[in-house]
């Protein structure tokens, strides 16, 4: 388990993290959401021992971040957003290098190659790989030390849909191996697809932390949310929000649908008692 208690990190007068507290269960996949500058990268950097906290406590699998930084690094791994390897080296030379500096076992080395389907690319120079293959190599390097925790910092940026699916499937499979994953992404669909829990960080504070299920349900209580394609005119009978949603209740649903039909408005989707993660994230972040 990762326990973050009242952690503050300041850059001059700016509080990048302001007394944040968060608990992440072992073996879970946590989606960390936040707009740019919210404090996600600072939190990931702290958890990876790259920067130190000003106050508070962090415990990672029973190890203290201040005194056991090396031990924590040994059981964790970061997959940076950038392709953190050497383009001029071959796939094998990259894996050999990162493997040797971490004293990785042959078993882990082979497993990292297998999981990321790099067997046929070993002799290829990294610069010649496709975007998806590069992402897979980036992830494989992070698996060499057989980590208990993996931090993914937007790992699917610039990846084609097929490779993205493969990457997301492989991340989901880490749960079966008991690996704890902390995942940041701007793609809400990815978070919805793989994460068990979601923490929303805004202005250096955790503004919400819950299971994905709880976060998506019951947010508008008894209301039904109808998403429409577009509407270029105001209809008095319908309260069309700026985000092209109409909220109604079960008792008024047929009446509302009739009005929508009368006005020839196309419906995108109807959600009963729920909202999208993206909308929820925007609502919470704006508060």
């Amino acid at each position: 388990m990762i326990k973050i208690k009242n952690v503050t990190k300041k850059y001059g007068e700016l509080k990048a993290l302001n007394e944040i507290s968060l608990e992440i269960k072992e073996g879970s996949i946590l989606g960390l959401l936040g707009v740019n500058g919210a404090g996600k990268t600072t939190l990931l950097s702290i958890l990876n021992g790259l920067i130190e906290i000003d106050s508070g406590d962090i415990e990672v699998f029973g190890l203290d971040i201040k005194s056991d930084k090396k031990e924590i690094n040994n059981i964790s791994s970061i997959i940076p957003q950038h392709l953190a390897f050497y383009e001029k080296l071959t796939v094998k030379e990259n894996l050999d290098f990162f493997s040797k500096i971490q004293n990785a076992t042959q078993e882990n080395y082979t497993k990292a190659i297998e999981i990321n389907s790099l067997e046929n690319l070993l002799s290829q120079e990294a610069s010649t790989l496709s975007g998806g293959q590069k992402r897979r190599l980036n992830i494989a390097i992070g698996l060499l030390n057989n980590p208990k925790i993996i931090y993914f910092d937007e790992p699917t940026v610039g990846v084609d849909p097929k490779s993205r699916n493969e990457i997301l499937d492989s991340i989901k499979s880490y749960k079966k191996l008991g690996i704890t994953v902390i995942y940041t992404s701007h793609y809400m669909t990815e978070i919805e697809r793989i994460c068990d829990e979601v923490a929303i960080i805004s202005k250096g504070q955790i503004v919400e932390h819950d299971t994905l299920e709880n976060m998506l349900s019951n947010r508008v209580s008894d209301k039904i949310c109808i998403e429409i394609i577009h509407s270029d005119r105001k209809i008095d009978a319908l309260d069309i929000k700026n985000d092209l949603t109409i909220q109604t209740t079960e008792s008024k649903l047929f009446e509302t649908l009739a009005t929508i039909k009368e006005n020839n408005i196309a419906i995108k989707q109807i959600r009963y008692g729920s909202t999208s993660l993206e909308k929820h994230f925007l609502d919470v972040s704006e508060k």
Binding site: Y11, T41, T42, S45, N48, G49, L50, I51, E52, K70, N73, N74, S76, S77, I78, P80, Q81, H82, L83, A84, F85, Y86, E87, K88, L89, E93, D96, F97, F98, K100, I101, Q102, N103, I141, G142, N145
Partner: protein, 378 residues
Amino acid sequence: MFSAMIKKEFLLVLRDRHALLALFVMPAIFILIMSVAMRDQFASDTINFSIAIIDLESNINTQKLVNKIQSDDGFNLVRDEKTAQFIITIPKDYTTSDKQKIEILVIDSIKNDLLEIFKSKLLKSVISVKLEGISEKLRVISNEAADSINKVSISPNELFEVSYDKNEDIPNSTQQSVPAWIVFGMFFVIIPMSTIYINERKQNTLTRLTSMNISILSMSISKTIPYLVINQIQVWIMIGVGIFIVPFFNTPALEINGSILALVALSIALSVSAIGLSTLIAVSATSSEQATTIGGILNILLGAIGGVMVPKFIMPESMQNFANISPMSWGLDGFLEIFLKSGDIFMVANESLQLLLFGLITLAISMVILRIRISKGL
């Protein structure tokens, strides 16, 4: 761990063609070009002036003078005045009137020191002919006196014994060019160093390495060792060019008169200095373009100040003192001690320590900057 990091650094440098060109081909070409181009500037004895002579008096006495000038190896008498560097005109009544002067028309633009060499060579011929005339006149009175005049030598080699004070040794063009461009080339490790460092920083590879418990000290040492080796290979290849290739261009070969141990010690110290400065630029710059531009300009400035482009011994004294601020000057002085003055390790200890200290200080500052950058998320 170290072996993996060193191997990685070697592979990256060896696959960087631009870096290899800057490190090995550029200084080798400079050595060849500058050794050949400056050959005559460094060896006045071998200078040959093309001249045309117009003898307006044209008698037996002036013919003697013309013959004397012609017999001097330093002059090449040409028939076509257009191809001559100098036109020497012997005026009418030159041998009979004390007021007549030989006229020298300088055709090419020429430096003052070369003009002085030309005049002294011509003076030698003129005095020689005049002494022969005096000797002939004296022979009427006294054979003994005439013979004693004939024995008067005006050859500088017979008249003067030239020896060089320690600080006044003047190298030949190869002795100047080889160390100068070795020093210059060594500082060009900035190109591969900055490219690799900045890519590592921008791609978050440094973040990854730090999160893998690789300390900044380990990273710095593992980067220093490959470049130390590369710099040593550079030194010996350039020395090889000076010894074996330069002579093919009718230019003196490099001679290592001093101790090899001193050469190794000095080149290691110089390498530490070059690596330190390059690391400092690489960790301070925000892009590899910025690093290579700043590094390139700084190298050229340090080279110009330090006597790489223009030998220090022809600089004015104030400029020679100013040159001492450049680590390239310390390295060059050390090499010249070894090549010219049979320098041993003690003779280059001062330069070596200066370079080593400079390198260690810049490396230490670089590590502090890198630590700050990493702690601020690079």
